[in-house]
């Protein structure tokens, strides 16, 4: 029987709902805890990329996950670093069997941790790279297709969560759903245009777009259309707060 792939599990849907419902970072912790069961993993970690500090773990569930995140960003190599740099999934079924030459420093250190498999999901929106979601297990294993979809959905939800809630100037506007709009080419085109107009990284340009749409109570797709067709140009905010997320690696 032929059927459509890609439906996230009820457990992961619940985890994502916890995230979407909570305005503050407590929601991330709750969502991550709930996601452990959905993914059947021992630990989960969210590490953000910031221009000031580089890679910074912000949420870790489980001691092994915390130590692993610290480790890979101390030695500067590992599957999470690669996932962020390449923008692709890095899935390691068995860390002890990796190809020679792959993360030699990390593999030397990781033997002391209860950790055999690790799965890293970049938190990206096109060229915008926010961070990476990592999942670990104590034994050699793989993720099922369902778990892959669940993890991808969680990474996407976290990406939107951080994109819509982190920038200082934008916090006041509160959460605004973006997910339904992201299939529209014009949102991304407008993001690119605004990034040039206001000399902002793409992540901040998208936030500016959102904030403006929110301020005017207009759908972000409408605003994007006006920008792409040059009926509208966003005013410069004059806000020189350093960006909190980066689109560069």
């Amino acid at each position: 029987m032929i059927q459509a792939e890609s439906v996230i599990s009820d457990q992961m849907a619940e985890a994502i709902r916890l995230l979407d419902d909570a305005p503050w970072t407590g929601g991330v912790d709750e969502a991550i805890e709930a996601a452990l069961t959905a993914l059947d993993v021992a630990g989960l970690a969210v590490t953000l990329a910031t221009p000031e500090t580089g890679m910074e773990p912000v949420v870790c569930s489980g001691e092994a996950a915390r130590r692993f995140e610290d480790l890979q960003f101390t030695v500067g190599e590992g599957p999470g670093v690669d996932a962020l740099r390449s923008g692709t999934l890095v899935l390691v079924a068995d860390l002890t069997e990796e190809r020679a030459g792959c993360w030699p420093l990390l593999r030397g250190e990781v033997l002391g941790l209860r950790l055999r498999s690790v799965f890293c999901f970049p938190m990206t929106l096109g060229a915008i790279r926010i961070g990476v979601l990592s999942a670990i297990r104590p034994t050699a294993s793989r993720l099922t297709w369902q778990q892959l979809d669940d993890a991808l959905a969680l990474a996407a939800a976290l990406t939107h969560w951080y994109l819509t809630r982190t920038a200082s100037a934008i916090d006041r506007t509160g959460p605004l759903p973006l997910t339904q709009s992201l299939g529209h080419a014009e949102i991304h085109q407008a993001t690119g245009m605004v990034s040039v107009q206001l000399r902002l990284p793409l992540a901040q340009a998208l936030q500016a777009l959102r904030a403006h749409a929110y301020g005017q109570s207009r759908p972000v797709t409408d605003l994007a259309h006006d920008i792409v067709t040059r009926r509208l140009r966003l005013p410069s905010t004059g806000d020189d707060t350093p960006p909190s997320v980066t689109d560069k690696d």
């Binding site: 032929i2 059927q3 996230i8 923008g87 692709t88 999934l89 096109g126 060229a127 996407a156």
Partner: protein, 248 residues
């Protein structure tokens, strides 16, 4: 070009997906252009399901933003969505029929607005699953012949092969990773269209045409070039700037 020759060209393109220096979006754009030509339809597009089962456009035979928006309305509704969920081909859907406009108001309106009267959808099949759909549009109703139907499904299957780069037959996780990267690539491309349009003072569509021409003639992979533009590693002054739009 005779049909056999066009088909051979498609086979060669699909074979090219096996080499390392391959760009999924570039491949699918050529592929959809060839699909439209071979099947005698006015537009073709490839939609891929994301992890939540929403369809997203990967490439279309014409990068006109208005056409992209027609495909975007099939995020959750439209014949491609039906085709994706059922695994069944949807043929000769009359976009002017009130039943159609009632079932999929946004989609039907957007498609009619740019002159399409008929649409068809073919599933992208992967073993027992469906991963997306091939959508075809026509300006005048003209049912596809039996031979064209077979060809269209074969082309949809080839698109799946191209997306998954057949060399990695093995693993579902590799497949999932490639599907995901294809979706990311598409967004990078849109962001870069905006960056270039603003730098050059042109439309996003013209900016894209110039970018693609440059990538093709200099053998750059389109997605990598786009990514290098967003990070500033590539200086866009190298790309011949398209002519400014004529003053009306």
């Amino acid at each position: 070009m005779p049909r056999e020759q066009q088909l051979s060209q498609i086979f060669l393109d699909v074979a090219d997906t096996l080499v390392a220096d391959f760009d999924i979006i570039e491949f699918l754009q050529r592929f959809t252009e060839n699909c439209a030509r071979l099947l005698g339809v006015d537009a073709a597009g490839i939609l891929l399901a994301d992890e939540e089962g929403h369809l997203r456009l990967l490439a279309a035979s014409d990068e006109n933003t208005r056409l992209l928006e027609v495909f975007a309305t099939q995020h959750e509704q439209g014949p491609c969505v039906d085709c994706y969920h059922s695994g069944l081909t949807r043929l000769d859907i009359d976009l002017t029929d009130p039943d159609t406009t009632h079932a999929w108001p946004q989609f039907a309106t957007a498609a009619q607005k740019i002159g399409y009267t008929t649409t068809n959808a073919f599933p992208l099949r992967l073993r027992e699953s469906v991963i997306g759909a091939l959508g075809l549009f026509q300006n005048v109703p003209a049912p596809l012949g039996e031979e064209d139907l077979l060809l269209a499904q074969a082309l949809a299957d080839m698109a799946t092969i191209g997306i998954l780069q057949q060399r990695t037959l093995a693993h579902s996780e590799v497949e999932r990773s490639q599907l995901q990267y294809a979706l990311t690539s598409r967004i990078i491309l849109e962001q870069v269209k905006g960056i270039l349009a603003e730098r050059w003072g042109t439309s996003v569509d013209d900016a894209f045409t110039a970018l693609r021409a440059y990538a093709r003639s200099h053998h750059h992979r389109l997605t990598q070039l786009a990514l290098d533009i967003t990070t500033g590693r590539f200086d866009t002054a190298h790309i011949p700037r398209p002519a400014p739009p004529a003053q009306q």
